[in-house]
Symmetry: C2
Subunit: 425 residues, 2 copies
Amino acid sequence: MERLPGFRDFYPEPVPQGGLWSADTRRYIFEKWRAVARSYGFREYDGPPLEPLDLFTTKSGEEIIAQLYNFTDKGGRDVALRPEMTPTLARMVAAHERNYRKPIKWFALPQLFRYERQQKGRLREHFQLNADLIGETDTAADAELIALLIDCLRTFGLTDKDFVIRLSSRSAWRDFFMAHRGDPGREYEFYQVIDKLEREEPESNTEKLQALGFALAEIQAFIGEAKPTPELAGMLENLAARDLAGYAKVDYGVIRGLAYYTGVVFEAFDRTGEFRAIAGGGRYDNLVKLISGGKADLPALGFGMGDVVLRELLQARGLLPQMGMGLDAFCLIQDEALRPESLKLVQGLRSAGLAVDYPLTPAKPDKQFKRALELKPAYTLALERPPGEALRARVKNLRTRQEVMLQPEEIAGYVRANQPSEPQP
Amino acid sequence: MERLPGFRDFYPEPVPQGGLWSADTRRYIFEKWRAVARSYGFREYDGPPLEPLDLFTTKSGEEIIAQLYNFTDKGGRDVALRPEMTPTLARMVAAHERNYRKPIKWFALPQLFRYERQQKGRLREHFQLNADLIGETDTAADAELIALLIDCLRTFGLTDKDFVIRLSSRSAWRDFFMAHRGDPGREYEFYQVIDKLEREEPESNTEKLQALGFALAEIQAFIGEAKPTPELAGMLENLAARDLAGYAKVDYGVIRGLAYYTGVVFEAFDRTGEFRAIAGGGRYDNLVKLISGGKADLPALGFGMGDVVLRELLQARGLLPQMGMGLDAFCLIQDEALRPESLKLVQGLRSAGLAVDYPLTPAKPDKQFKRALELKPAYTLALERPPGEALRARVKNLRTRQEVMLQPEEIAGYVRANQPSEPQP
């Protein structure tokens, strides 16, 4: 029986061939994301992966249904697997915003689902870091969020040689649109054309823009000039104070496709342009009000960073560390008479927080040692009781090949003091 | 807009009133489970939350559909949200078992979904620690798994005064059934009656057992005697070597409802009997073969421990720690002229791995300090530049009220050396 197309199995390392995914790498990425978000004072939240269908159509219109895993549950409710986290966040914040001081800084690591037409390698689920800052209109909030985004990439070893945040602004585009006498009823249509500018042929762009009363050349001039709005200038100054200016640039070629953005928008790209956007987001000051049916009205901004493109980029840059199981010790049982004492030793070491394994059943010493080597522990241990003497342990460092004899109760302290086994990133 | 009934929102602490759940407590439980499983040499895996419907009906029959979130996807596939993890595990292991040495020791923390008739407080999703040991028939594997289960509860501060593992055996019950000339065609029906023995009235039990040719008294005598089979005796001996004997007892009152168990079965209960089972599992030597359509034939055993009953138990025993955000420092900005230097300081501390927050926008000192106190950081920081002097930082320990003056670059080291802010469990 096979898993569904577009879904992933996550295996422990070493991951078998054939497009499967590493659960260890997933945990590595999640832990890094969590640590950086927490260092910024962001708090973790989560909602249900299954939500009322309305929650998503309210925000994105009925068109989104074509891309959803939606169905009617046994109680007759129209439900859908979440395709994004922002509606859930807006729902949760609106329900209990009075319980939390503003600004609210929250993050989540949801799995998201989209029924997309199956293409080679195209997934129907992915995980995303979602970070949102709610309740602050000042661009200081936008800068704080961009700094978080930058550090969520730097934490993996990526530098300003590897990626850049392209900063743009819906307000700048709106001013441009109005100044050039755009038809207010077709503003969003105009943004959609700008959003696709880099992916479409010039002829097609020219034609679509003309239909809206614009010349491609004037659009290109506006993008080329890249003149920061006061809000963007403030953000760049803020980032410069943090020594992060080299990670961001004004680039009006980015506008983001979604309708609900209201101010600053941005996308993170690798510098070589090999990959799709690594992350994207912006300000959505009206969405909480919309989703909550007017119950709460809070300015907000956020970004999402998926696990798939990030993984591809880290892989390509050699920044995904080799993941082992991080076993501290393997306890050999060379004398079956000492199995009870060995079990007691293993139990004690595990209780002390060390990762320890041992042969479940009797096996020849060379087979045991081979098994130990496969598991790549830092140490092997073996209890011995020479005639007339006390129990002692032979403790071997598998990297240095050094061997010491210890009392069983000394081992935990010794292994702790002489960590770690494998090079950790 | 409301979330679906039976589903949970997870909020950061302090969690608002009204049956909502703490994301911090969830992470606390997950991290403890992970740490213990890893200390036992178990590796993490995961599969998709959405699977082909067949995967679940193959194992549990068509009856299970009534309890599933199942639907037909846009590609015409019959799919279901996973109600349990074992079928996914069996599928994954069968597909790539040659890649992994035996025994395979794997764990996962899946979210599971069941469409149950809505009852007060009854959930339609929960998280579970699933730990499985695959490829070993010896009861040493059963003992290893029970030891893991015990430590997954002890890690929260629960002791043998709080819980016990009730060990039983399908083989013991099969022997009893055969020795008393049970009808081999009704063996599973018999197990179902035994499974419900404690929850049903004696009259009903008597009647059902009589229909199968048994007297309630002989069943009660068998349970009362609690004579360990050789396999259970071996397990108890193994657990005794680990000083864990006090956590488990033979109790044939447990048999587990599911059809596929083949050997040892067990459940963890709190000693007072206030709560539903905390965990349960057993040996299922034929299931991998069944699920894989004969592709792989491996003996296996495992257990599941849900997050809901565990939380209730820890809460009742006062073992859920107060969860703060663990902020190391809050940087006051009392002089707006020093905002750029303050941003640089905050950035540096965060890069050093500390959790630091600051006022995004200008505010009066007393309002800033109030905000700081709400966030419960270990320290407040404030940069100062007296006329003609170098920049320096006032660093205040909010617990001891001690204040020191430091160079900005000394702060990270100082805060690290004088951790932690809040009492951590």
